[in-house]
C-alpha cells in the first residue's frame, strides 16, 4: 500500500467518529438546539461501550449501550433546553463537564485494559486492484459505510422530504412550525435525542477503531471538533462528510510526519486539528461578513408559544 492510500485509510478511520458526532450535532442544531454536550456524550458513549466490552459483551451490544448512553444525556439536554428553556450553551457545557467526570468515574476500574472485539469489515476485494483509492475502500468496516449512507440519507431527509421541511421550519422559525401544526417541543426532543444517540455511537466507535482501550478523556476534544465541523459544513450533512474526512486526513498527516522522524516535536503536530479548526472557521468567517450563512435562524433560542417577538 502506498503512502497516499495509507493516508486516506487513516483519514477515513479518524474521520468516521467525527462524522457520526457531527451528524448528531447537525440534527439537533437543525431543530434549533445547540448541542455543546457532544464531548461529554462521546465520552460517556465510549465508557459505556468499553464497560460492556470489558464484561464480555459483544460488539453490537457495546455499540447499543453507547447509543443508549448518548440518548440519556440527550434526553437531559432536551429537558433543560426545551422543557425548562434553560440557556442551551450552559446546559451543553454542564453536560460536557458532567459527562467527563462521570465517564472517568465509571471507567476507573477498566482504564487501560485492552478490549477484545472489532467491528465487522465489509470485504469488497474486487475494488483492491483499483489504483490509489482501491485499497482504501476494499476493507472498510460496517460503520464507515453506514455513516456515509447516513450522511446521504440525512441530506435527503433535510432537503427533499416533508419531514425535512418541518425540521427546517423548526430551526428557522418555531412559531411558524407551531402554526403548521408541528408539536415543536416533541419534535425538538426527538431530534436532540436521535442526534445524541449518534454522538454516543461516535464515542463507542472510538473504542473499537481508534483506541484499543478506555482512557480517561480519550476523545481529546473530538466532540468539540464535531461542533465546529457543523459550522464548517454550513449545516449540510454531505458537506459534513467531506469536512470530517478532511479533518481526519490532516490529523493522520500530522501523525505520519511524526513517524517520519522530523525535527518538529510531536506536540506541535498534535496541535494541528485544533489550530486547523480555528483557521477553517476564520476563512469561512472572512468569506461571509455577516455571521454564519445557512445557520438555522432560531438556533439557540427556546420557543415559547405565547411570547411576542
Amino acid at each position: 500500500m502506498d503512502v497516499i492510500a495509507q493516508l486516506l485509510t487513516a483519514a477515513v478511520a479518524e474521520g468516521t467518529p467525527l462524522l457520526l458526532a457531527a451528524l448528531g450535532c447537525l440534527l439537533s442544531e437543525r431543530a434549533g438546539i445547540i448541542n455543546l454536550g457532544a464531548e461529554g456524550m462521546m465520552l460517556v458513549g465510549a465508557v459505556s461501550a468499553s464497560l460492556v466490552a470489558a464484561e464480555g459483551g459483544s460488539v453490537p451490544a457495546a455499540m447499543i449501550c453507547g447509543i443508549l448512553a448518548g440518548a440519556l444525556l440527550g434526553l437531559l439536554h432536551a429537558f433543560t433546553c426545551v422543557t425548562l428553556r434553560a440557556n442551551q450553551i450552559v446546559s451543553g457545557l454542564a453536560i460536557t463537564l458532567f459527562g467527563t467526570g462521570l465517564s472517568a468515574y465509571l471507567g476507573k476500574p477498566i482504564a487501560g485494559t485492552p478490549l477484545a472485539g472489532s467491528i465487522p469489515v465489509v470485504n469488497l476485494s474486487f475494488l483492491a486492484p483499483v489504483p490509489a483509492i482501491g485499497p482504501v475502500f476494499a476493507h472498510l468496516d460496517v460503520l464507515v459505510w453506514a455513516s456515509i449512507a447516513l450522511a446521504v440519507l440525512l441530506q435527503i431527509y433535510v432537503d427533499k422530504t416533508s419531514w425535512g421541511l418541518n425540521l427546517r421550519a423548526l430551526g428557522d422559525s418555531p412559531a411558524t412550525a407551531d402554526v403548521m401544526g408541528i408539536d415543536v417541543g416533541r419534535s425538538r426532543y426527538a431530534h436532540v435525542i436521535v442526534g445524541s444517540m449518534l454522538v454516543g455511537l461516535a464515542g463507542a466507535y472510538l473504542i473499537f477503531s481508534v483506541a484499543p482501550s478506555w482512557i480517561e478523556g480519550m476523545t481529546a476534544g473530538r466532540g468539540w471538533i464535531a461542533v465546529a465541523l457543523v459550522i464548517f459544513a454550513r449545516w449540510n450533512p454531505v458537506r459534513a462528510l467531506a469536512g470530517a474526512y478532511l479533518f481526519g486526513g490532516l490529523d493522520a498527516l500530522g501523525f505520519r510526519i511524526q513517524l517520519m522522524g522530523t525535527q518538529t516535536p510531536s506536540y506541535f503536530l498534535k496541535m494541528m486539528p485544533y489550530v486547523l479548526t480555528v483557521v477553517v472557521l476564520m476563512v469561512l468567517g472572512l468569506r461571509s461578513r455577516r455571521g454564519a450563512p445557512h445557520m438555522p435562524l432560531s438556533l439557540g433560542s427556546a420557543y415559547v408559544r405565547e411570547e411576542r417577538f
Partner: protein, 401 residues
Amino acid sequence: MNKGVFGMRQARTSPSSPSGGEPGGAARRRPGFRMVMDAAQTSGPWWLPILSVTAAMIFCAFLIALNGLNPLVVYADMVQGAFGSGYGLGETVVKAIPLLLCGIGVALAYRIAFWNIGAEGQFLAGAMGATAVTMYLPHLPGPVDIPAMFVAGALAGAVWGLLPGVLRVYFQVNELISSLMLNYVAALLLDYFVFGPWKDPMGYNFPGTPMFQPWQQLMTFGGSRVHLGLGFALAAVALYGFVLNYTRWGYELRVLGASPAVARYAGISIGRKILTVMLLSGALAGVAGMSEVSGVAHRLMYGVSPGYGYTAIIVAWIAKLHPVGLILASVLFGGVIVGGYSVQTIGLPASMSLMLQGAILLFLIGGETLSRVRIVRNGPNGEENAAVHPAPEKRGGEAWM
C-alpha cells in the same frame, strides 16, 4: 393555551382549586391554577445555588452508591478533607485563589454575553509567561523578579484571551469553539516546554522546570500555603464590583449584556468592548496562572492545573456574576476540588469532583427556570389573567456566531 407555556401538561395535572372553586369549574375539568413563566424575573432567588448543590449531591450519591460505596461516608470524607482541618481549609483557599481570578475573568466576559470558555488556556499561558521570565532572565535583580513575572503572566494570558476576541470581532469565528481549541493548544505548548527545552536537567526526567529561586516565589501567610495571590484575587474582585457598578464603562458592559441592540443604538462599540473585556479576562486568568506557579508549585510542571479554567465557568455562573457570590463560590469549589483529592484514598477518581460540578451546574440552570414559574389562578371563564409576558430579548442567534 391550557397546555401552559411549558409545553408540558402541568396545567392539566395540577390539582384543581381547593378553595373558592367555581362550581362549573370541576365539572368542565378546568384546572383552577396554571403555571406561567414570569419573564420579567431574570434571576432565581438567593437560596437557589444552595438548593442546586444539595440536589446535585443527592443525584451523585446514587452514582456513588452504584459503585458500592456509602455516599454519606464519601461526602463526609470530602467535607472533612476540604474544611475539617486548618490544613484542609488552607488548601481550599489555595485552590480558591485561581478559581476566583479565573472566575472574575469569565464573569466579565459573560457580562457581555461573550462565551469565553478559554480560561484554562489563558491560565496556562499566564503560567508559561511567568515561567519564561525565570528561564530567560535569570539574572534579574531580586525585587524586580515578582513584578516582572506578574506582568509577563498577565500579558501572556491577555494575548491568549485576546485571540478569541479578535477572531470573533474581525473573522466572525464563534468564541466557544476558538477559545476552547486554544485551551488544547496551550496545554500542548506547556507539554512541549516542560518535556522539552525547559525540563529541569537535574529533575530525574520529571516533566517540570527547575524549582524557582526563593525571590521568584510569592510570599505565603503564616505557616500555610496560602500565598499573596489571595491579595491579587481579592483586589481584583473588589475592582470588578466597583467598575461594574460605579463606572460608565461598567454600565456600558451591563447595557451590552442586557441587550446588544440597545447598546448598538446607544453608540456603544461592541467590537471594542469585546476586545477590552477579553484582554482583561485573559489577563486575570494569566495572573491566576502566574500566582499558581510562583505561589504554589514553585515551578512550571505537567498538569499544573486540575481544570481551574473549566471550574471557573461554574463558579461564575453559580455566583450569578456577582462579586460576593464569586468569592463564596470559589471557596466552595476550591473545597470540592480538595475534597475530590481526599476521596482518592478510598479509591474514587479525583474526577468525581468534575461529575459533581457538572451536576451542580445542571441543577442550577434547571432550577433557575423553575423558580421563575408562577402559579396563576385561572379566571372563571378561562380568559387569560393579566399576567403579561414582556418579550425577552431574543439572544441565541446573536450569541451563537
